[in-house]
C-alpha cells in the first residue's frame, strides 16, 4: 500500500551503497583549488572526467548520453552522498543543470545526440549568456541581436556576469531576432561556440576573490540554423523553462546544504571551550533549516514523480536555499570570531552565498512570483 515513507527502498539503498563506495575510493583526499580560477578549473575538469568515466557525471540522464537512467530519488541519493563525501563542486553545472533540461525538452534529436554526450564528458563546457549591461533580472530587456544570414544567423551585442565564462567553450543565451516585437517576444535561444570568429571573452573578478566572471562580446558572429534551440522567436518560452530549472529543484540539491550544516556543527563542536550559548542556538537553528530544506525537497520530488509539478512553487525553493546558504555562513563567521578576518573556505563561502539572492532571478522577483502566482495577488 502507498504510504508516507522516508526510508530508502532496497533498490535505493543499494544505489546509495554503490555511490558511496565509489566516492570513498575516488574523491580527492585534499580539496581541489577553486574551480573559478584557471588552475582550479583544470583540476576540476580532471575530476569531472573521472566522474564521467565511472558513469557518475549525469546519473539521471539516459544511458545513451552517458547517464544511468537514475530516478529523481536516485539523483537525490547520489547528491547526498556526493556532498557527504566532500567531493568537489561541479564546474560543469551550468550545462548539466541548466542547459541540459532545456535540450531534453526543446532540442532536436540531432542537437541532443551531438551536444549532450560531450557535455556529460566535460568536453564541451557551457556558460550561460543571460545578463547584459542593460538586463539583469529583467530578461525581457535583452538587446543583443541575431540577424538572418544565409544558412544561419549573425549575432552582435554583449553578455556580462557570465559565470566561469573565461574557462568555457560554449555559451547558451538569448538574442533578439525580431526587434519590432514587444519586450518578451522576438527573442531566440542560441547555442554558440566561443571559438567562433567574432567572439571575444574577457574575464574579470568576483567579490569572493575568484576570477570566474566574464563579459562576452559578439561582433557579427555567424552561427548556423542548427544553433537555434526551440524555434525562432520562441526564446522567451524556452528560457523560462530553463529559468524554472535554475530556480527550482535541480540547482541546489539538499545534500549540499546538509553537508554544509554538518560542517558547521563540526566547527562548533571543535570550539567546545569557547562556544557562546547564543551562537550554539544559531547553529542549531541553521541546522534545522537545512533539515527542513531536505524534507521540503523530498516532498517536491514526490510531487514531480507523481505528476504534480511544482510550477511557481519552485520560487519557494530558491528563496529558502539562498537564505539558508547565507544563514549557514553567517553563523560560521560568528563561530570563527576574529578568525573570520582571514581568507578561508568559510569566508569565501559567505561571499559566494551573497550571490544566492541575486542570481537566477533576484529574491525580490521570486517573492513577487510567490505572491502573484502562488497566492494569486494582483500585479502592480
Amino acid at each position: 500500500m502507498t504510504r508516507v515513507d522516508l526510508s530508502d527502498t532496497p533498490a535505493e539503498a543499494a544505489f546509495r551503497e554503490e555511490a558511496r563506495a565509489w566516492l570513498r575510493a575516488n574523491v580527492p583526499a585534499t580539496p581541489l583549488p577553486s574551480g573559478d580560477t584557471r588552475e582550479g578549473f583544470a583540476a576540476h575538469l580532471e575530476w569531472e572526467r573521472r566522474l564521467f568515466d565511472a558513469g557518475w557525471a549525469v546519473v539521471s540522464w539516459p544511458k545513451e548520453y552517458g547517464g544511468r537512467d537514475a530516478s529523481l530519488w536516485q539523483w537525490l541519493v547520489f547528491e547526498e552522498e556526493y556532498y557527504a563525501a566532500g567531493a568537489p563542486q561541479r564546474v560543469t553545472q551550468n550545462g548539466i543543470f541548466l542547459l541540459a533540461p532545456t535540450l531534453f525538452e526543446f532540442g532536436s534529436p540531432e542537437q541532443r545526440d551531438t551536444l549532450l554526450p560531450r557535455m556529460a564528458a566535460a568536453q564541451d563546457l557551457w556558460c550561460q549568456g543571460w545578463s547584459e549591461p542593460g538586463a539583469g533580472s529583467d530578461l525581457a530587456a535583452i538587446a543583443s541581436r541575431a540577424e538572418r544570414a544565409d544558412g544561419g544567423w549573425r549575432l552582435s551585442g554583449q553578455k556580462t556576469w557570465t559565470t566561469r565564462g573565461a574557462f568555457c567553450t560554449h555559451l547558451f543565451g538569448l538574442f533578439r531576432t525580431d526587434p519590432a516585437a514587444p519586450r518578451h517576444r522576438g527573442l531566440t535561444y542560441f547555442l554558440v561556440p566561443l571559438d567562433a570568429p567574432g567572439v571575444t571573452v574577457r574575464g574579470f573578478g568576483r567579490l569572493d576573490g575568484d576570477e570566474g566572471f566574464a563579459e562576452v562580446f559578439f561582433d557579427d558572429v555567424f552561427v548556423p540554423d542548427g544553433a537555434v534551440l526551440g524555434g525562432v522567436d520562441e526564446g522567451w518560452r524556452v528560457a523560462m523553462a530553463t529559468t524554472g530549472s535554475e530556480r527550482g529543484l535541480t540547482l541546489r540539491s539538499p545534500g549540499r546544504f546538509l553537508h554544509t550544516a554538518e560542517r558547521l556543527v563540526a566547527l562548533a563542536v571543535a570550539q567546545a571551550d569557547r562556544l557562546r550559548p547564543a551562537t550554539r542556538e544559531r547553529v542549531t537553528r541553521a541546522w534545522l533549516r537545512a533539515r527542513a530544506y531536505h524534507h521540503f525537497t523530498l516532498h517536491q520530488v514526490t510531487g514531480l514523480v507523481e505528476g504534480r509539478p511544482p510550477g511557481a512553487r519552485s520560487s519557494l525553493n530558491k528563496l529558502y536555499w539562498s537564505r539558508l546558504d547565507i544563514d549557514l555562513h553567517e553563523v560560521a563567521l560568528e563561530l570563527l570570531g576574529a578568525e573570520a578576518v582571514l581568507d578561508t573556505p568559510w569566508t569565501r563561502g559567505f561571499q559566494f552565498s551573497l550571490a544566492g539572492p541575486i542570481y537566477a532571478g533576484t529574491n525580490e522577483i521570486q517573492r513577487n512570483i510567490v505572491a502573484e502566482r502562488v497566492l494569486g495577488l494582483p500585479r502592480a
Binding site: 556543527v265 541546522w287 530544506y293 514526490t302 529558502y320 510567490v370 497566492l375 494569486g376
Partner: protein, 308 residues
C-alpha cells in the same frame, strides 16, 4: 522514498473540515475520528500518525475550541493501549479528554467542556476529572482551567512517551493550520482592500510580507509530516518532533505578524476574525516549549555548552 500525504489521508483531512469548522463533536465521532489511532484489535481503525497530520492541521485551521486533538490523537489511543476502561468512551467520542499543560493549565477544560483531564509529565501519565479554577489566557476561547488531583494511569513508559510525542505533533500541526488560516484570510483581504487607488495586495511590500509568511509555512509543513513518520516508525522521533514544533511555532508566529500588519487597523479589532487565530497561535506557541526543544536538538548534535 515517498514523501507526501496519500489520497486517503488528504480525503480524511477534507472530510473533517466542515465538522471542525462547526465544532460538531458528534459529527466527528460519527466519522470514527476518535478511534482512528486506536489499534484494530482494540476496536479502533488502526491508523497511524501520518494518516492524521492533515486532520490535525484542519483542527488548527478551524481554531476549534474543543479538546479535539487531545482526545483523538493523544488520549484515546493511550487509554486503549493501557487497557483503561475509559478507552471505549473516548474512542467513541462519548467522552472528551483534555490535555493539561505546564502547572496543570488545561485548554478546553473549563466548565465541563472535558470529561477527563490527562497529564503527561516526565514519562508518567495521570488522569483526573475536569476541575479547577478558570485561567485568564490571551485567547479567551481557550477556555482553560487549572487542573489538579489526577491519579496515575497504568501505562508503560513507551506508551506514555508516544503520547508525549503525539502531543508535540498535534501542537506543530495545529500551528501550521493556524498559520495557513491567517495567511488565507489575509490574501483574501488584501485582494479586496484598496488604498492609494490600488488593491493593497498589489503593493510590493505586502506581497513580500505574504511571500515570506508562505515560505515559513510551506517549509514547516513537511517537517511536521516527517515528524509524524518518525513517530510512526520510532526513528529519531524525539528530535523530529522537536524540530517540527520549533519550525511550526516560528512559522505561525511570523504568519500572524504578517497577517496583522497587512490587514492594517482592521486586523486589530475583535470584530474581525483574524484575532481569534492570532491569539490561538500565540497561546499554542507559549505552550510549545520551543526553548527546551532547541536545547534538546543542540544536545543531540553534541554541541557543547548546553548543560549549565
Amino acid at each position: 522514498m515517498r514523501f507526501a500525504p496519500t489520497d486517503d489521508q488528504t480525503a480524511l483531512a477534507e472530510a473533517v473540515r466542515e465538522p471542525l469548522a462547526a465544532a460538531d463533536w458528534d459529527a466527528l465521532a460519527g466519522m470514527d475520528v476518535f478511534a482512528a489511532l486506536v489499534p484494530a484489535d482494540a476496536g479502533g481503525l488502526g491508523l497511524a500518525e501520518t494518516d492524521l497530520v492533515g486532520v490535525l492541521e484542519a483542527a488548527g485551521y478551524a481554531a476549534v475550541a474543543l479538546p479535539f486533538s487531545a482526545t483523538a490523537f493523544v488520549a484515546a489511543p493511550l487509554l486503549a493501549g493501557a487497557g483503561d476502561p475509559r478507552a471505549a468512551d473516548a474512542a467513541a467520542g462519548r467522552a472528551r479528554v483534555a490535555l493539561a499543560g505546564p502547572r496543570g493549565l488545561t485548554p478546553f477544560a473549563f466548565l465541563g467542556n472535558a470529561d477527563w483531564v490527562l497529564h503527561l509529565d516526565d514519562g508518567v501519565a495521570r488522569i483526573g476529572a475536569s476541575a479547577g479554577d478558570p485561567a485568564a489566557t490571551v485567547d479567551t476561547t481557550l477556555a482553560a482551567a487549572w487542573s489538579t488531583g489526577a491519579e496515575v494511569l497504568a501505562a508503560g513508559p513507551e506508551l506514555v512517551r508516544r503520547a508525549e510525542l503525539r502531543a508535540g505533533l498535534a501542537l506543530a500541526a495545529e500551528l501550521v493550520g493556524l498559520g495557513r488560516r491567517m495567511l488565507d484570510l489575509t490574501v483574501g483581504y488584501v485582494k479586496q482592500r484598496r488604498q492609494f487607488g490600488a488593491p493593497v495586495g498589489s503593493f510590493q511590500a505586502v506581497k513580500h510580507h505574504l511571500a515570506d509568511a508562505t515560505l515559513g509555512l510551506e517549509f514547516a509543513a513537511p517537517e511536521v509530516l516527517a515528524a509524524a513518520w518518525a513517530v510512526e516508525h520510532d526513528t529519531d522521533a524525539g528530535r523530529a518532533v522537536d524540530a517540527a514544533v520549533v519550525l511550526a511555532a516560528e512559522a505561525a508566529h511570523d504568519a500572524g505578524r504578517a497577517a496583522i500588519q497587512c490587514h492594517g487597523a482592521i486586523g486589530y479589532t475583535v470584530e474581525y476574525e483574524l484575532h481569534r487565530y492570532a491569539k490561538r497561535a500565540w497561546a499554542l506557541e507559549a505552550l510549545a516549549a520551543t526553548g527546551a526543544r532547541l536545547d534538546r536538538i543542540a544536545a543531540s548534535l553534541d554541541l557543547p555548552g548546553g548543560a549549565s
